[in-house]
């Protein structure tokens, strides 16, 4: 593999997989809110 191809492989992985990691971290820092006026059904899963 050429050096340029390796560099672009790493950039692609960092931006796309890194983007997913950041999105997941961001979401985990904002916990799910509950609809307080809604009675939660029993979870089936």
């Amino acid at each position: 593999m050429s050096a340029l191809a390796i560099v672009f492989m790493i950039i692609s992985m960092l931006t796309i997989w890194g983007g997913l990691a950041l999105a997941l971290i961001h979401l985990s820092r904002h916990p799910e809110k509950t609809d307080d006026d809604v009675i939660e059904p029993a979870h089936s899963l």
Partner: protein
């Protein structure tokens, strides 16, 4: 509305609209919908053909400027108006109902042929073990066309059924109908909770196995080597926008329907980012796995990767079987690859069917099971009548090409124009998104959806019209493309107009008291200006 069923006619819907029991299950189901056959067999070739490693730049621009903003638009419409596509658009504006029915009919067309491809992939799992194509003198290509599909020479529509395609297609429909009847939580959520982890594990194993094949490095070199000259070509940018648009399942009505099942205080934009980047992450993985395998194929044939690189049906059902026959532990590669296609396809198929089922369930006001059966059984029968035949491949090819361009693309363009410039709804929808979302949207989002969106979609549509007008698609007879391509695309619009004219009965969900309460709560939660981080 009470939970009692009516004593006359079809049973009424139960009182409450189903919701995904957790955010995790919504995200998993949305990813299951977005990750489909295209991620595996389309993205690797599109990226390779449009600049290789350099494609990353237009690809990321397309995700951030069109994919994610349009995804948020779908989420906002479905979540605010809390209905299937026709009901949501109807609640947004009485005249907009037709757009929802257009999406329902587009999903109907996709569903009838999508099931056929899943059935082929399921059969190829078995063929990977027996390496059935080795016996054909013309190799995997000859096996696929002649031995398996028994494709006849004349391009027409016939009813000569092919048993080994009909039986697995019947099974696919049976599984899909069972999942759909079970509903959002017991069916769709549960199916995605099982199939998606399986898909990810199987695909990861496949990629690891592929990158250790001889020649794999050459494949990866071809895939990632950037061609910066390509970035000067507008068609490369159009390819990136087009790919992201189809890959993320925006404007199909799917995300409108799924987001209508989210809880009121959901973080719509935060979830959307996860869905969009998970979809792209899977595509990148597919690019690595597919090009590593193609590198091995080229190595074995003593040719270059450029000569063996293909996409779509050619990649899955001709190139991959060849790799299965030649690679060490080839049967394992085959089962993992075709199994992945089956799971990716099934999770997308159920999301496509949900658009249709939810629409009729809302309009008829029926309970889940009868509404599902009355919709899915006729869809399955039409699919089983048209595609497991000696002419099914031609029909699939034409319908797929035309419904994508003159169905989805055209419908998306109309929607962004109607919601943006036409009805001026973007400020209202931005307010809706900002109620509980962790990433706020503002002027930037409105410009992207109302300006960049229509410009990009319009450019792609004009290009496609010119291409399809210039020559007969796939060299098929004019009458065939006229009826099943242009005619079908036109019939979807006529059908949508007719369906939107059918009045909503008292039984329907149009005046659902639950929605009025939802609307009141939602409006009370709106904040006047975006605060915090802005899109």
């Amino acid at each position: 509305m009470s939970s009692q069923s009516s004593t006359q006619g079809a049973p009424l819907a139960s009182d409450k609209r189903e919701t995904f029991s957790s955010r995790k299950l919504f995200i998993l189901s949305a990813i299951g919908s977005a990750v489909g056959l295209g991620n595996i067999w389309r993205f690797p070739y599109v990226a390779y053909e449009n600049g290789g490693g350099a494609f990353l730049i237009p690809y990321l621009v397309a995700i951030l400027c069109a994919g994610i903003p349009l995804l948020f638009l779908d989420y906002a419409v479905g979540h605010r108006y809390r209905g299937s596509a026709p009901l949501s658009y109807r609640r947004a504006n009485r005249k907009a109902e037709v757009l929802g029915w257009w999406q329902v009919l587009i999903c109907f067309i996709i569903a009838i042929y999508y099931a056929a491809i899943i059935a082929w992939a399921a059969m190829y799992c078995w063929f990977s073990i027996t390496k059935a194509w080795d016996k054909n003198p013309d190799g995997a290509g000859g096996f696929f066309m002649n031995d398996f599909l028994k494709v006849q020479e004349e391009v027409t529509v016939g009813f000569d059924f092919v048993g080994p395609v009909l039986i697995p297609m019947f099974a696919v429909w049976l599984i899909a109908i069972v999942i759909m009847v079970a509903g959002v939580n017991k069916g769709i959520s549960r199916a995605n909770a099982i199939f998606m982890p399986l898909l990810i594990i199987m695909f990861l194993v496949l990629v690891v196995q592929s990158v250790f094949l001889p020649g794999a490095i050459d494949g990866l070199n071809t895939f990632f080597t950037p061609n910066f000259e390509a970035l000067k070509n507008p068609s490369v940018w159009a390819a990136a926008f087009g790919h992201i648009f189809f890959s993320l399942s925006v404007a199909f009505g799917i995300m409108v329907t799924y987001s209508s099942y989210m809880k009121r205080k959901s973080d719509l934009t935060g979830s959307g980012y996860v869905v969009a980047f998970a979809n792209s992450s899977f595509e990148l993985l597919a690019g690595i796995g597919v090009f590593a395998a193609l590198g091995f194929m080229a190595y074995n044939a003593n040719s270059s990767v450029d000569e063996v690189a293909v996409s779509g049906i050619g990649l899955a059902f001709i190139a991959f079987p060849t790799i299965v026959s030649q690679a060490p532990l080839g049967s394992v590669i085959g089962v993992l690859f075709f199994g992945s296609l089956v799971f990716a396809g099934l999770t997308s198929l159920i999301s496509i069917l949900e658009v249709i089922v939810a629409a009729f369930q809302d309009k008829l006001g029926w309970r889940r099971a009868p509404a599902t059966l009355i919709v899915t059984i006729p869809v399955a029968l039409i699919s089983l009548a048209l595609f497991p035949t000696t002419t099914g491949l031609y029909l699939l090819d034409t319908m797929d090409a035309f419904v994508n361009q003159f169905g989805i693309l055209a419908c998306a363009l109309v929607i962004v124009i109607v919601l943006g410039a036409g009805l001026g709804m973007l400020p209202k929808l931005a307010k809706h998104l900002n109620r509980h979302s962790s990433i706020k949207v503002g002027t930037g989002w409105k410009v992207l959806v109302g300006g960049v969106g229509p410009a990009a979609l319009g450019y792609m549509l004009i290009n496609e019209v010119q291409t399809k007008m210039a020559e007969q698609y796939s060299g098929y007879p004019a009458w065939f493309n006229g009826v099943f391509g242009w005619g079908m695309a036109g019939a979807l619009i006529v059908g949508a107009i007719i369906l939107s004219m059918v009045p909503w009965s008292k039984k329907s969900k149009l005046d659902d008291p639950e929605f009025h309460q939802h609307k009141k709560n939602v409006e009370a939660e709106e904040i006047p200006e975006p605060a915090g981080k802005e899109y």
